[in-house]
Amino acid sequence: MKIKKKWVVAFLVPSTLLFLFVYALSLVVLLVTSFTQWNIGQEIKFIGIQNYVELFTSTVFKAAALNTVKWVLLQSSVHVLIGVMFALVVSRRAKSWHARFARTVFMIPNIISSAAWGMVFLCILNPKFGLLNSIVRLLSQEEYSQNWFMDPKTAFLSVTMIWLPFAATVALIVSAEMTAVDSTVYEAASIDGATYFQTSVYITLPLMKNAIATGTILSATSMLQKLDIILMTTNGGPGTTTINMPLLIYETSMRENNYSLASAQGIILIMMGLVSIGIINRIYRMNKED
């Protein structure tokens, strides 16, 4: 027993030390500096909650926080729904060639770099030679030009569509969980005369609860890290239409050189992440027996 404990400790120590020095220490530094005034090249001085007061009176911060919340909500609802639906549809003919083809195609956005994915959409939605405008011109036989990323009316939707429909990660998690379900459960349902729809709604989905919750957490938190694609496509504009928290932090630190204000924004972002995970856990009642 003693030997077993030693091994447990031996395996835990490296990861604990890594957490303490890489994450915990950074979090402490982030928290402490959020109460200071710290610009590059200037001395750090304590200013209490002034950074937080400044944040909550800033219209740009409000826009960034609101957009982030909108994207978290969309990603943890519509995106997850698309992923689950895809998994359910594909699982029906899991071994057929078209199911395998669909799975591969659905994975493409996840296997190429997000910079390349952003470039693909820049080309598709380009107002001059973009595929979308060309199709509209072809169908309508009229002069048509829409600047999807830069028109304030369409910018948010255009950016959202870069990631919202591509829910391969959720689909993979749910598909993997489906293969673990005992086939006798489905056989019993089939003998009782249950349709595919009834089996999916009353048997599959409840059994997938933890997998869907995991997918939801991954999808929601991915929106708290989204930076490169927004930077490439709209740079947060027009105005503040597509700015989010990571981009705001990047701008505050790298353009305004205001590290302490960026730290305060970072603390808010971490709190948003914790709240999101807490809410999702509560909704799905994860780790609780039904």
Partner: protein, 439 residues
Amino acid sequence: MKRKVLALFLVGAMVSSFVVGCGKSDGTDSGSQSESEKNEDIVTLKYATYRVGNHPSAAQEKACLDRFEELYGDEIKLEIEELPSDQAYADKMKVLAASGELPDVVDGKNGIKELAIDNGQAVDILPMLEDDQEWKADLSEDAIQANMSEDGKLYSLVALTQLSGYFYNTEMFADAGIEPAKTWEEFMDNCEKLDAKGHTPLALMTGENCWATNILLAAMIGTNGEAGNEFMNTKYPDTYQTPEVIDALERMKVLLEKYTTEDAIGALYANAANNFMQGEAAMFCNGLWMTPDFENPEKSMEGFSDKVGIAMFPENGLMTTYPEGWVVCADSPEKQDAAMKLLKVFTDAEGQQAAMEYTKDVPCGNNVEITDQFAAENPLFAQMMEDRKGTEYAFATFDVTAYPTVVDSFSKYYPDLVYGNITAEEMAKKLDEAAESSK
């Protein structure tokens, strides 16, 4: 048994490779004492650059660095960090500035010079420049004064003067029956005539730092009387809510709405330049450094260089700026001396000559001869030099006078201005807010 033998073999291999690694190092030390002594005399100088790869100044910089190696290779070892994009360079330098670890020589663009001064790394190079009067004579007094700080210290040096008017497609101008405009009313009239003939008048862009668009905006402001000209020559102006800025923004709104390509809003520099060089727009605002691209078949359509003219802005306006240039951040006297040698290679008459020949940059001093042959081979350069004599309004760009946050705000609020979400007055207020966040 087999596993034990394999484990023993692997341990043996690791130990032997370790011993061999150490052995090699020992051998070098004992075998070349004189080499070691020589190495102690060599100063290692760290230099970071973005002028690499496809950058227009890459060839010029390489020529200078080759010359540096030739002149000082025996005494100075140059460690070069290449960052292949302006933005990546600025971001990396800012992070290094935060920890006081800027390389020994850096380019001071995008506010890096100010950060180096703030963190105490930037060295006042004026005394060292004064010690080399021959070199100082290669630099114009204007170029030195442009980089002089209020406390009389000199933290950076440049090799060139940036001049920018606009390039125009002579065939399109002839087709529309127009000449380069003398007034802004005439300029707008020219746009209308080009448009009526089916030519897109301007290649503009509002992505990145809105370079081509903001040169034109700066021209409208900088040629708008004494007040406008003073505004465009003031570093970090108090406010953007001036009549000249608002007038120019209103005119820019019209140009972006009616007289440019459909991809201009959000377009990058490369998109706008491509629109001009492929004959899809009649005018493009940029400096002389663009002229080599007109003969590059990978960038321009065939025979394009024969169709390009160059003109000053209306009211005889010309963007004339001295960029921040190179900043010395070396800490020891030896390294500072080595850094000054590098700056000299970049900025003395020979360095300016390289800039002129490779990138068509205008030398900032008077000791570089512009030969008749060079003028004949570079007619756009020659004409700009001639036109320059008639400059009534010289002005800087926003990249030089404004905080990076303000430059960034242009790209965010031009779309809002064009799509009617904000007025010119409101955009000027947004620029003030952006400036405030950097103070």
